[in-house]
Amino acid sequence: MSTREIDRIEGTGIPVRGDNIDTDRIIPARFLKAITFEGLGDHVFEDDRAGRSDHPFSNADYAGARILLVNENFGSGSSREHAPQALKRWGIDACVGQSFAEIFRGNALAIGLACVTAPHDVIGGLMTRVEAAPATRLALSLAGRVLEADGRRIAVTVEDQVRDALLAGTWDATGLLLDDFDVVRGVASRVPYVRGF
């Protein structure tokens, strides 16, 4: 499968405030009872939305948003790839937050969903701005490590390896991992428990 080079993501934003928003909240476990990822976008944050009529994902002003704004430790908990899949299928192509849980960030990268970080005050300012004016245009440049909002340029942090994988289109790692399979066989033959004690 060919993967796509990802650099610039432009569109409107959607803010979801709160620290430690776990993957059970992004997509409750009952929606994992399926053998495909199809339709998950319809159920993103389903229980949070049911409990709160003003949830951003229920607010028509944010329809069509491509950039999700979040706070600390977003995507903690379960390793379900269904969480970034649900966000992506809803239409999100980038997450900008204070920090991300590790497995979530890896899963997001594996499906070409960029996660970048910025400090608390910067995120807070962006959220307030987007809440006041949901039509605000945002543009994330991975190459430049910059988020443009209303003509302002905001520096964002993205790990070299994440940035490079998205820019080079190697975020879908299968091809890369199979590039030189003889080396994999070589490692297998030197690992004592594979070789046999």
């Binding site: 909240r25 430790n73 379960s78 849980a101 497995i103 994988a165 991992l177």
Partner: protein, 466 residues
């Protein structure tokens, strides 16, 4: 400078550095189940790729299976479709599969160690965040997503970023009624639910050294709740004794050769750690969570914190319907659940049974015990634990994940409060969007089931041992 176990395992399994800056790491053992794999197999098929090492992947079923009526087809057609997909995929790709009719079936993180598949010095991957559990035997074990499951099936390797190592030493000794679960809840409370991001947690110190493998499995299991991708304990005599004679452990003289290699993989004295934390065992009380993440816990004699200016505390208290400043003891429960990959092993059931023996579950409480594997269930029945539980009013069920995440028929209803030996108290985790979870040790769950409310297990301990 000496090397840590993590560094030794990492170096041995490195295939090559990738152009992205990540490492391609060989995965020695791949464990799969029905929830996170159907899409991975479909991706392989659509790309025309096979499974590289089908003999290094093992499958079981745990998340969706009913713990009562296991007749096929399941009443839930979605659950049936998932199990059927796993059966088909394992058949097509030649992967060994312990299905419901096998006495080796159980929660993937219970059966790996139990069968001796999990061994020191290994790299392990599984599409489940609690894969960190396997570190209890000195393995480096990663929870991964479905696209990475595809990668491991295709290449027996992962593209992964290097980790730092934090040594967490639990010194001295634990008091009576304080268990491995309390130790890990204390660690997560102190270091925070994101304290471990970017790290592997290496657990050590006198308390960990004295722990059985079952107890170490509980501690390593919840590394992920502390934000750490990986948790491990260096292999020692306890580890080797545990593995001896297990079905997939080396046998005869190969076992002795394995032991010398396993020993060599432990962290060197004076190894180079990125961070070191020490906690006194005597300072740890039985703990109970009061909030909506596993870091939000208090000692059972303590009080629920007040919100003050902390929005996270306020949100948690509102969801939980608890008042800041109240003692956690006396919090009424509706359901008691002993089970999950954290606490469903034989020793967990023994501790819960020791509390339950000869007593009765409170009239308003629904209590269930779900063994982690068919082997645990059989062993528990052989020593009469099923009768102890049944006579006390607990339901005795078949093996699986059950009410930890409620992908099967076992779930909370409405705003029920559950005393649970599982690992996550997230909003909606146990199947009802408004259901509430209080995490605690299996003995504390049993004590709460009897009292009908959170109570200090230390007051319920029998005079002498079991």
């Amino acid at each position: 400078m000496g090397r840590t176990l993590l560094k030794k395992v990492w170096d041995l399994h490195t295939v090559r550095p990738l152009s992205t800056g990540q490492t391609q790491l060989f995965i020695g053992l791949h464990l799969i189940h029905e929830v996170t794999t159907p899409q991975a197999f479909d991706m392989l098929r659509s790309r025309g790729i096979g499974v590289a090492f089908p003999d290094r992947t093992f499958a079981t079923t745990d998340h969706i299976i009913p713990t009562r009526d296991q007749g096929r087809p399941f009443a839930d057609p979605l659950a049936e479709a998932m199990l059927s997909a796993l059966e088909r995929n394992c058949g097509e790709f030649g992967i060994p599969f312990w299905n419901l009719d096998s006495d080796r079936q159980g929660i993937v993180h219970v059966i790996g160690p139990e069968l001796g598949l999990t061994q020191p010095g290994m790299t392990i991957a599984c599409g489940d965040s609690h894969t960190s559990t396997h570190g209890a035997l000195g393995a480096v074990a990663f929870g991964i997503g479905t696209s990475q499951v595809r990668d491991v099936l295709a290449s027996q390797s992962l593209a992964i970023s290097p980790l730092k190592v934090r040594r967490i030493s639990i010194d001295g000794e634990l008091g009576a009624g304080v268990f491995a679960k309390d130790v890990v809840l204390e660690i997560i409370h102190r270091l925070g639910v994101m304290g471990g991001v970017g790290h592997a947690y290496e657990y050590g110190g006198a308390v960990i050294d004295r722990m059985s493998i079952d107890e170490r499995l509980t501690v390593c299991n919840m590394s992920i709740e502390g934000g750490a991708r990986v948790g491990y304990v260096n292999p020692d005599e306890t580890t080797f004794d545990y593995l001896r004679g297990r079905p997939f452990a080396p046998a005869g003289s190969a076992f002795d050769r394995a032991v010398s290699w396993w020993r060599s993989m432990a962290s060197d004295p004076g190894a180079d750690y990125d961070d070191v934390v020490a906690i006194q065992g005597a300072d740890i009380e039985p703990r109970v969570t009061w909030g909506i993440n596993p870091g939000q816990s208090v000692g059972v004699s303590g009080r629920i914190p007040t919100a003050g200016s902390d929005g996270g505390v306020a949100e948690a208290l509102e969801f939980m319907g608890l008042a800041g400043g109240d003692p956690i003891q006396g919090t009424k429960i509706d359901v008691a659940f002993v089970g999950s990959c954290t606490n469903s092993r034989l020793s967990d059931l023994r501790e819960a049974a020791r509390i339950a023996k000869g007593r009765r579950v409170a009239r308003h409480v629904k209590a269930l015990v779900v063994p982690g594997s068919q082997a645990v269930r059989t062993a528990a029945e052989a020593e009469g634990l099923d009768r102890v539980f049944s006579e006390a009013g607990f339901e005795w069920r078949g093996a699986g994940c059950s009410m930890c995440l409620a992908m099967n028929p076992d779930r909370l209803e409405g705003r029920q409060v559950c005393a649970s030996s599982s690992n996550r108290n997230f909003k909606g985790r146990q199947g009802s969007p408004t259901g509430r979870t209080l995490l605690m040790s299996p003995a504390m769950v049993a004590a709460a089931a009897l009292a009908g409310e959170v109570t200090d297990v230390r007051a319920a301990l029998p005079e002498s041992g079991p």
